[in-house]
Symmetry: C2
Subunit: 390 residues, 2 copies
């Protein structure tokens, strides 16, 4: 839209633009920034100094080059003053971590937790948050992201359904606000879907995040997905975008917890594998790994079947959303080649004759921290929006 004369707004978007520039191109100098923004060198110097003082940016050591003259000082994101707090509200565990603006994990407390009551779960989290905040007094924490294992409304205020926790229609934003207030934790906070968090963990801290588009698959008991388009989380009109686990891959297939039949989640998940193996309880990843290692043929076949379905799903994602990358995440990834091998060969075999797509498929590096790290990343993203608290 058109530009108003509001000086503080202009200053804020210039600050944000500078942080984004340095994030995208570590090592930029003040002169580079002036060139790329069209701002005067003195304005850039002033704002960069302010951002350094506050901890958003830092100066890197100038490399001795042997050339005559003063080298321009390279700038980078600051990692010593500002931090992000990320929470995985989990299904059978809780995870709280503190990350730098670069996604380096400074602190982590992960603990098993099986009580699914929302109150008990949030109550258990508050002392964990207080410990995290207390242990890092040198850092200013910018906010808290909460990764929730369920579908949230598009405005992230309502939890619509969390099948594995038995939650439906909770006013999740108000609940967290109340618990934080009672615990006297006065920080901005952002509830979000777990798979969306995983997607942010893979994009916000990546090289050149603003140009990144990816789909993150969170494969575990269920199957979730998060979509990032040009560096922004894409949630759709009602918050259902990326519910790829509930796209139907097999008409009249196995019954899904959502009420449909043949959803991708019934085929590519611990639940799906447990059904194929005719187990009443959902098998743990450890148990599935043990059976694979002992050469159990039925388990090998079931994992192979799930892997082939995953390959088809990867094709469908490439042909509908066509992201730059698809990132495989969640505990199921720990089944390794037994799952990923058939997925990749099915993906390759079902390329169309004229496809010239170059979709990158890779495994997430964040492991069990993906959700909490992505919730932390969300805080950084919020701070880089005009009108934010940052």
């Amino acid at each position: 839209m058109a530009i108003t004369g509001d000086q503080s707004f202009l200053k804020q978007i210039n600050r944000i633009a500078m942080i984004r520039l340095v994030r995208a191109q570590t090592g930029l100098s003040r002169a580079d920034i002036a060139k790329q923004t069209g701002l005067t060198k003195s304005t850039v110097s002033l704002l960069v100094q302010e951002l350094i003082d506050e901890g958003w940016l830092c100066e890197e050591t100038v490399q001795a080059t042997g050339l005559v003259g003063r080298r321009p000082t390279p700038l980078a994101l600051g990692t010593e003053r500002l931090a992000l707090l990320g929470v995985d509200v989990g299904c059978d565990f809780l995870n709280v971590l503190i990350s730098t603006l670069k996604g380096e994990i400074l602190y982590r407390e992960m603990r098993p937790f099986t009580n699914t009551a929302i109150d008990a779960r949030l109550d258990a989290l508050m002392p964990m948050l207080k410990s995290a905040l207390k242990l890092h007094p040198a850092y200013r924490v910018l906010g808290i992201g909460f990764g929730i294992h369920g579908i949230l409304s598009a405005d992230a205020r309502q939890l619509i359904h969390a099948p594995n926790l038995g939650w439906t229609h909770l006013d999740i934003h108000a609940l967290i606000a109340q618990k934080l207030s009672a615990a006297r934790i006065n920080l901005p906070f952002y509830p979000m879907n777990e798979s969306n968090a995983g997607a942010l963990a893979e994009s916000v801290f990546a090289q050149n995040p603003a140009h990144h588009s990816l789909v993150y698959l969170s494969m575990g008991v269920g199957l979730g997905a998060g979509i990032v388009l040009k560096g922004r989380l894409y949630c759709g009109h009602d918050g259902y975008a990326g519910e790829l686990g509930h796209t139907i891959m097999q008409i009249d297939g196995p019954q899904c917890g959502c009420g449909r039949r043949g959803c991708a989640e019934t085929l590519i998940s611990q639940s799906g594998l447990s059904r194929l193996l005719e187990e009443k309880e959902i098998l743990t990843i450890a148990e599935l790994q043990r059976r694979l290692q002992t050469g159990d043929i039925q388990t090998q076949e079931a994992v192979n079947t799930a892997g082939r379905m995953l390959g088809v799903l990867l094709q469908n994602i490439a042909n509908s959303i066509n992201p730059e990358e698809i990132v495989l995440g969640g505990p199921l990834v720990d089944l390794g080649d037994a799952l990923v091998g058939p997925a990749m060969s099915t993906f390759s075999a079902s390329q169309g004759r004229f496809d010239t797509r170059a979709t990158i498929i890779r495994i997430s590096q964040a492991g069990l921290d993906a959700c909490a790290l992505g919730a932390a990343a969300r805080v950084f993203e919020e701070m880089l929006q005009p009108g934010s608290a940052g």
Copy 2:
């Protein structure tokens, strides 16, 4: 990014912002625009007058209200000076139309054309374009959009594959440039995919287009789709986004022209219906309609089956892309309730237990003009980007 002191750039984005504002809210006054943009009234008056003189905007008649005092003059998009040229390069026909900025069709020449050679097709189009331009001397035509029935590269310079025309890997941008130059037509032009054009036809001329997100399905001999997110066409990383016709809905299903098996296109299209009815040639819509009208049971069943598959596809779109609207377009829509009825009942029946989505599903109003009208819409979209020729 940050704002430079470039006055002409600022003027241009202010002009674009004003056209967009009036497009979104017909009837705004100059005072309303000043309020919404933060610009001074004199700046607004100056720019609005310029936009009226050029034909982008016009003044609507003030309604007599009986109240004392001068009423502010309501503004609207101009429809008498500027026009958009849209072309459907077609499979078995050619269509050239001129549209106003509001999507009103001023002129149309549609003719059957069966020669699939790209040269012959473009050669036949040039005199049609010249006639269209000659017949409307009062209008300044802003550019030409070309809707092409095939997959284009993300930069729309290369045609990758047009199965129904037998084209692969054509330098489509250069080919059109050469033909236009030879025909002495000196206008900016924009090749685009046919289904993407259909999606723009439904969004650019709609109420409040900037907030619109929709998926347009083009169902005919094949099955294409176009995606518009927040008013912008979304083509994905390599131009394959919206290739929903080639998402796999039935593992090991019917062979698809693309080399895969069980693609949505093999199930929901004239080709799919012809296969179900064991016809060697692809049945025309007229023939399918005739058989439905005479109560042919096999045809009724085949169309019902395709309709149910369409319902599943609609679910999958709602759960992966979650647009505000899904618009059903293309000749297959002319089969009416026989197709759309089972699609809608399957869509409703396969809602998940906890879904609170409110996806609107409706039939396109543009009919056979959808592609050419959308190609015209694309020209308007280009003019509303900073740095455009407009």
